[in-house]
Amino acid sequence: MKNEKYFIPADIERWISEQDPEDQEIYRKLWLETGELPASAPDVSEDELNEAYAAVSSILFEDSNQNKPEYRGTNSELTGRSQLYYWAAAAVLTIAASLGYMLYITGSIDVNAAYGEQVSYVFTDGSSVDLNSGSSISFRRSFSSSVRHVTLNGEAFFEIGEDSRPFIVETHNAMVKVMGTSFNVRSRQDQAEDETSVVISDGEVEFYPRARPDNSVLLKPGQLSRLKELSERPTEPEEATVERFLAWRQGGLFFNDQPLELIFSEIERRFDARIEANPEAIQNQRFSVLYSRPESAERVLRDICEENMLTMNVIGENQFEIY
């Protein structure tokens, strides 16, 4: 479907033809007039374009062994080369700051995706992580020379660059150890669920309880394993539809035969919603959900409630009562 300035798309034309006859010409005219709205295009000089690209590529393609300078609170003393690094650091920082927030305390960094938000973050070694809503990671500002170690609370997708040092994700009950790969870790510890699950999209991963490195399972692409609460050993690797477990990265919502309580918790995180569900009404109810792009908490909840013969009331902005 082409959208030239003077071309009226079929859908719009159909709508126009349904309007009052004396209005139809006016709408056609209006369509053309709005097409003449001045594009706010700022001129971008070649220098400016190159500078912008340099800032981006210095973040993405910097030699991973090179140490980045310390981030400073003020840019007043930064000049020349370090200005560029500052730019890079500032841009990386904004990624975190724009969605979650980042705390610089002595040597340790926290990246946090609040309810209703998702955050991407690039580590100094070029590895990256996407955090799902209501999730956080913390790690030392510079990785040690022997190991890259990150603590995760919540759900995240990691893309780890190959490096001589292993990359370890620690959760409330498990450790996930990799060399270079991409994988999803979900570690939720609340009433609805208490487990860590790992799905691999590329490479190989070692997965074991925090206290029992000897009880590890080796996971290959397309495989899933779970570690419940304080169990001694993760479940045997099973085949999983990886895309579904990664659906959240594209804004999707996927649950396969999960308790409603767990599904509601996830909807609260994703949409920054508050759901007051009568525990008795949802007790022992399980449900499967697959939305590639849910438009709102209300929409999803309405569907779920209809299917499960529950009643839902909207009691405030993004606040729901279910019984």
Binding site: N3, D11, Y53, Q250
Partner: protein
């Protein structure tokens, strides 16, 4: 986009998936100015827009292996920029935006209604009225009329159905028509 450009972009998208940095650079050079224009309009600050657009490209690179070659990389980039702009605006509201941090503030949205008078040209007038439309209507209308995107692309960006985009746009047209009529603008009475 003419079909040559479309082919070129499709070719770059494939190469991007294979981590081709040259392709990434081409995509950057091709889309940077239009995304900057788009983000500047929403954020009313070119400096803030620069940050958002650069982040969008970083996200694109970091997610290159999940880019769907059959879907428009253009609408993907617009979607990332759009989402981040909305986040920024929301964050500004939360923390109280420090205007001094951003130069080039391109006039503030709050400079209220001294704006309209009969001597304005229709274009100028339309611009002002459009800026008062409900957010989703305005966004859909401008993505269509100013950025020249298709309903499908806009649906992708705004994360809704193409039919919803059509509703936003026609809703915007209706509102514009009412404004123009109320103001007794010639040709719109």
């Amino acid at each position: 986009m003419d079909s040559d450009t479309a082919n070129m972009v499709a070719h770059w998208s494939k190469a991007l998936k294979a981590s081709d940095r040259e392709a990434f650079k081409n995509i950057f050079n091709h889309f940077y100015a239009m995304l900057l224009a788009y983000a500047s309009r929403i954020l009313e600050s070119r400096e803030a827009a620069k940050d958002v657009v650069q982040e969008a490209f970083i996200t694109l690179w970091n997610h290159r292996d999940t880019v769907d070659p059959d879907r428009s990389i253009k609408s993907l980039l617009y979607r990332i920029v759009y989402t981040r702009c909305l986040n920024q605006i929301r964050d500004r509201r939360l923390v109280g935006f420090d205007e001094e941090n951003y130069e080039n503030l391109m006039g503030s949205e709050n400079s209220e209604p001294d704006i309209m008078n009969e001597n304005m040209g229709i274009q100028e007038l339309l611009e002002k009225i459009v800026s008062r439309l409900p957010e989703r209507q305005r966004e859909a209308l401008l993505l269509s009329r100013q950025e020249g995107l298709t309903h499908d692309e806009i649906a992708d960006i705004m994360e809704c159905k193409p039919a919803t985009v059509n509703n936003h746009i026609t809703g915007a047209m209706k509102n514009l028509r009412v404004y123009l009529k109320d103001m007794n603008i010639e040709g719109y009475q």
